[in-house]
Amino acid sequence: MLEIRNLHARIGENEILKGLDLTIPDGEVHAIMGPNGSGKSTLSYVLSGKPDYEVTDGSVSFDGADLLALDADARAAAGVFLAFQYPIEIPGVANMTFLRAAMNAQRKARGEEEISTPDFLKLVRAKAPDLGISQDMLRRGVNVGFSGGEKKRNEILQMALLEPKLCILDETDSGLDIDALKVVAHGVNALRSPKRSMLVITHYQRLLDHIVPDVVHVMHKGRIVRSGGKELALELEESGYAAYAQDAA
């Protein structure tokens, strides 16, 4: 369970999150929608512990622990996963090598054994094809030369292998063609479980047709300004965010 209370965060002099409240119980999928620049990606970075984002007030607890007290890698080991809006390239590091290093680092942090090479290969072979990830993409440098859609699918592969407890998906649907969208949604749905919470950031109702959320939130100027069922997404698709802009003005 994720509980965010009155979260204020800034980058440099700019306060971007301005008293955000959000609770995601275990097993639920929550979607966040909101205009460009409202702070959605910022929220995902603050939750995952990116340096340079300073929390000035409020609290975040995850399964009862104070998430903000942990370093980024410790949060990852505790089960926080962020599928990046813009996945990063790491030239020269084979995708496979990266996946394995990540898995083992998390295992080590949790005091578990490293995964053996055969087990790792088996796991990757089981998960990669479903996401349309070829052998070639596994051998290439992390995200290097991947198309926009390939990068996003690669994020979901990492998520599937790392089996996090909190999945934050930042615009994973942007840049995906219709078929890829279904592939990704299928991959995400396969990970839905009573023990796992998901926060899905998107601009489009379309994704939510495939990943059906339990709750939809509207974010505006660094706060959650409205929450509702999945039908809220449909309503937003119709009317846009104009109403909220007026509220805030």
Partner: protein, 490 residues
Amino acid sequence: MPAVQETVERVRAIDVDQYKYGFVTDIESEKAPKGLSEDTVRYISARKNEPEWMLEWRLDAYRRWLTMEEPTWARVSYPKIDFQDYYYYSAPKAAPKSIDEIDPEILKTYEKLGIPLRERDALLGIQREGGSKVAVDAVFDSVSVATTFKEELAKAGVIFMPISEAIREHPELVKKYLGSVVPVSDNFYATLNSAVFSDGSFVYVPKGVRCPMELSTYFRINERNTGQFERTLIIADEGAYVSYLEGCTAPQRDENQLHAAVVELVAMKDAEIKYSTVQNWYPGDKDGKGGIYNFVTKRGDCRGDNSKISWTQVETGSAITWKYPSCILRGDNSQGEFYSIAISNGHQQVDSGTKMIHLGKNTSSRIISKGIAAGHSDNTYRGLVSAHRKATGARNFTNCDSLLIGDLCGAHTVPYMEAKNASAQFEHEATTSKISEDQLFYCLQRGLSQEEAVALIVNGFVRDVLQQLPMEFAVEAQKLIAVSLEGSVG
């Protein structure tokens, strides 16, 4: 080499019970008087039972050295060296008797590198007193391994032995080639080396022979004590091939602060020499105190047509590194390569690079240099590519990438190009980058620690060069890179 060899002989000469009381003190006693004089040179030559001509060669070098000035052009700074304050012959060094006498930092590194216990003791030069079994076993092990190799090499006609032995057993080869690539008067440190060199390897691969193994494992076990003034000479005769691997990924304990090695390679017509180095001498403590000064002259001569010499180096140790493995492309169509990873951390200073001297027609060279600077270190790539008037069709490709970790270090690229004929084609690419915060965060978000993340990104950065190393060595080098960069961020 001499230390081990001698140890072996001593151990053989006595039975094991006597041995444990016997040789430690004996071994410690071999030392030339401090300082450098003609007498020192004579002492060294005598200790090695050298023929007269070798002594004369050394004395000639010594006399020239007296007239030379220490070079100051490199981007390194250190207190003035008092050359009279060193021992020029002290092999083997006084051995520590137990693991407790070794710097715990070095031990930690060994653990991280996963160096087997026995090999570790051998590298540290530990001679155990009561339980002397370890040292003996290690020694005996290396003897048997060495013998197997020797037989196989002899079958192929390859000569591979300490240079001190070659001077006695193959004087005609040594006379012909020693100093023929790096002349006695080449530079201050090379001249010093010529006067006082302690030992090193000698390799001769006869015509048309492909050396049946990497000359590496042998070296690794046997040549850990070559000392401060190593001298290596490798000759690949017409159509021969040899791959030679110097060094070891474990940090070596050594009381000698000043190191000045000379390596000469000669490739005759159609021959190829591949020379790989991993240098991990002690870099000094966290304040930069006590590290090794490493002034090396390495040069290869592509003497015959269609010959090829390839240098690959991974430099992670030493307080000061001054090193430019070079190729003289004399034969037509000859090729020179230089692949380098130079890592500096803490207060290390690295000034390294290469020289590609194009003399023959249609010669080509390729330089891939990856410099990584962290901590307070300074990392300079210095490269010279030149084409002689007659070197028509000379081609060079240089790629020089620097990676900075943190704000307190520096990376510098100093390329010199001299084309004395219009048909030469030189290409130079250089980049300097920093490990991006975004890359680091991406790795951390996946659960890697800061240090793991840096090591991973750096290993990606140097991948092109790592691939040039023999497989087994590349894996070790990769681990070594991680260890060298510890504490570089956060």
